[in-house]
Symmetry: C2
Subunit: 338 residues, 2 copies
DNA sequence: CTGAAAGCGCTAACAG
DNA sequence: CTGTTAGCGCTTTCAG
C-alpha cells in the first residue's frame, strides 16, 4: 500500500498538497490536481482506512451481534443489514453470541474500543432468560448507540426494531378459529424469549376472544430445537382430535406438516397448519405451508437506518421502537375461510 | 472513551509512563504500575483499537466474502470462521457478494485499504462463470493474503480449503450402484461452479467404472434454485423408471424426496436418494435423508488457520490446498448394500 | 497556490 | 524509574 508521503516524494511536493489535491481542494491549482491524481491512479493509491478512522474518530463500521447464524431468520436479517450498510457506506463486523451471555458480553466489549460506531444486535437467549442488561447500559454510557431487533430488552433505552408479534400470532390463531377449527395446538419452542411470550399471548387472546364458541388451545412447549420432531410426534399421537396447529417459530410448522402427513392426516382437510416461516422452506412442503412471514431483510435494513440516524445524531437519543410489517400468506395448509 | 492522555493527567505522570505501566513494563516501578492500573480500571480504560492498528500496521481483522448467506452451507462455514477467529483473537468483517462479480470486486477493494489483514472467501458464481481472476491478483500484489474455500480459482496462487468433491460424488454414486440401482438421476443446480463440475465428474466416473453392469446416469441440470421443485417433478414424471437420485447441492435432495413421495414412490424400496445436505434439513425428511455431509464449520476453521499462518508469515506463500474430510451418512433413503 | 506543523491515540527508542 | 520525542497515515489550520 502506497502512502501520501511516498506519493509526495514521487511528485516533489508536500504531503499536504497531495492530500488536498486528492480531495479537490480549491486551494490547489487545477494543474497540480491533475498531476497528483494521475500518479495516484498509477500507484493505485487508496487512503488508509485506519488512519482515517483515527483522524475522524469514526470507523464507518457497525458491530453486528447475532445469536445464531444457523437460524434462517437471523441469516436473512444479516443479509438485510449487510445490504443496507453497504449502500450507506458502512462495513459490518459480525460476531456470533451463539446464545451465550458471556460471548455476547465479550463481543460487546471487544468492539467497544473504537472498532465500531454502533451496534445492531438481537439478544442471546441466556441474556434474555437471566434478564441481564448492565452490559448494554455500559455501552450506552460510552455514547455508543445500540439498535436491538427481534429479541429486545424493554428496560434498555435504545433503538428497537420488531414486528408486532402479539398481533401476528393473534391473527394467525383468529384465522384458524374463523376456519371453524376447535382444538388448536400451539407449538412453542421460543418459551424463554420475549418474542415467544408475546406470540403466545396473542394466540391466547384470540382464543379468549372467541370463548363464546368454545375453542381450545393446547400449548406444546419445547425446550430444545432438537426435540421438536419427537415432541410434536408425541403430541400428535396423544391429541388425535386437534384440528389445527400454529407454530410460532420458523421450523416447527414444517416439521408438524410432515409428521401429520405421516400419521395420515389429510392436510388441510383434517388439520390446518400455520407457521412463522420464511419462503425458504416452501420447497420442502407439500401442500405449501401457510405462514406468517416476517420481512426479515427489511428488519435488517430498518435497523441500519435507525442506527445510522443515532450515530450521526452524536447525542444519546431516547427509546425508539420501529415496527416492521409482517404478512399473512395463506397457502395450502389452511382452508379458505367460510 | 478515556485515553492515555487523560489518565496521565489524572495521575500527574507522563503518557508513556501510563502506557508502559499498563503493559507491565519492567521500566516502571511496581508501585506506579498498581496506581496506574487502579485508575485505569476505575475509568474503564481500553486501548483504542484503531490507534493500535495504525501503530502496528495490522488490524487483527479478517475480511470474509460470502456469495450467499441464505445458503445454509455458507452460513455454517461462517459460523466456523467466526468461532475460530474469535479463538485466535481476530474479528471478522463480513461482506456478501450475492453471487455478483461487481459486489465481490467492490468488497475486496473496499477492505484492501488497511481494513483487514487478509481475506477468506468463496467466489461469486458470476466471477467463476466468467473466469475473472485479475482482482484477486491485484490483492495478492498488495501482499494481502487470501484463502478461498469451496469455490476456488485454480489459477490463483493462494490458500485453498476444499473437500474432495470428485471423490465424494464418486462414492455416493458408487454406493447407489452397489445397492443394485440401475438408472440414476443426477440433480445438478451447480452447473456453473467448480465444485459442481467436479461432483458431476465424480458421478460420471463411478458410472463409467461400472459400465460392464450397464448402469445409466441421467443428468438433470437446473439453472435457478427456484426451478428445482418444478424441474425435479417434471423429471420424475418423465423418467418413471429411475431407481436412484443423487443430488449434488444441499437442498434438491430434500425436494426430490418430497416429490417422489407425492408420486407414490416408496422410499427407499423403489428409489434411493443421496443428497449433499447438512443435518439441518433432517427434521424435514421422512424417512431421514442419506447424505454426503461436508464438515462446513471445519472448513471455516481450517480456512482461518491457514490464513493466519499466511498473515503471520509476512511473505507471500505459494499455493497451498487443504482438503477437509466429508462423511457419508447413510440413513433412511438408501438401502443397506447387499 | 504550496508547505509546515499539529494532532487523532498509541508505542518505543532514547535521554535523563 | 520516568519523561521526551518521533512516528504510524491522514487532514487541516495557519503561514508563507
Amino acid at each position: 500500500m502506497i502512502t501520501l508521503k511516498e506519493l509526495a516524494e514521487q511528485l516533489n511536493v508536500s504531503i499536504s498538497t497531495v492530500s488536498k489535491a486528492l480531495n479537490d481542494s480549491s486551494e490547489i491549482s487545477e494543474k497540480t490536481i491533475q498531476r497528483v491524481k494521475e500518479i495516484a491512479k498509477i500507484y493505485n493509491y487508496k487512503p488508509n482506512k485506519v488512519a482515517l478512522s483515527l483522524k475522524n474518530n469514526q470507523t464507518k463500521t457497525i458491530g453486528v451481534i447475532i445469536p445464531n447464524i444457523l437460524n434462517h431468520f437471523f441469516a436473512k436479517v444479516l443479509y438485510g443489514i449487510e445490504k443496507e450498510s453497504a449502500k450507506k457506506g458502512y462495513s459490518i463486523i459480525t460476531c456470533l453470541s451463539n446464545e451465550s451471555y458471556n460471548r455476547e458480553l465479550h463481543s460487546l466489549q471487544l468492539l467497544a474500543n473504537g472498532s465500531v460506531d454502533g451496534f445492531i444486535m438481537s439478544i442471546a437467549e441466556e441474556t434474555q432468560k437471566e434478564k441481564k442488561t448492565a452490559h448494554f447500559e455500559n455501552i450506552l454510557t460510552q455514547k455508543i448507540p445500540i439498535v436491538m431487533f427481534d429479541r429486545v430488552a424493554d428496560a434498555v433505552e435504545c433503538g428497537k426494531v420488531v414486528i408486532d408479534d402479539f398481533e401476528a400470532a393473534y391473527k394467525a390463531t383468529k384465522y384458524l378459529i374463523n376456519e371453524g377449527r376447535k382444538k388448536i395446538m400451539l407449538v412453542n419452542c421460543l418459551d424463554e424469549l420475549s418474542v415467544g411470550k408475546l406470540r403466545v399471548k396473542g394466540a391466547l387472546q384470540a382464543i379468549s376472544d372467541a370463548k363464546a364458541f368454545s375453542r381450545e388451545l393446547i400449548e406444546l412447549k419445547i425446550k430444545a430445537i432438537n426435540d421438536i420432531e419427537k415432541e410434536v410426534e408425541t403430541a400428535i399421537r396423544k391429541f388425535k382430535d386437534i384440528d389445527a396447529i400454529v407454530s410460532i417459530d420458523n421450523i416447527s410448522g414444517v416439521v408438524a406438516l410432515n409428521i401429520a402427513k405421516k400419521h395420515q392426516f389429510s392436510i388441510p382437510k383434517d388439520l390446518s397448519i400455520i407457521g412463522f416461516s420464511d419462503d425458504n422452506v416452501l420447497p420442502f412442503t407439500s401442500p405449501k405451508l401457510s405462514t406468517i412471514t416476517q420481512h426479515s431483510d427489511d428488519i435488517g435494513a430498518k435497523a441500519v437506518q435507525l442506527l445510522i440516524k443515532r450515530i450521526e445524531a452524536k447525542t444519546h437519543l431516547n427509546n425508539e421502537t420501529l415496527t416492521v410489517n409482517y404478512s399473512v400468506n395463506l397457502r395450502g395448509t389452511t382452508l379458505p375461510v367460510k
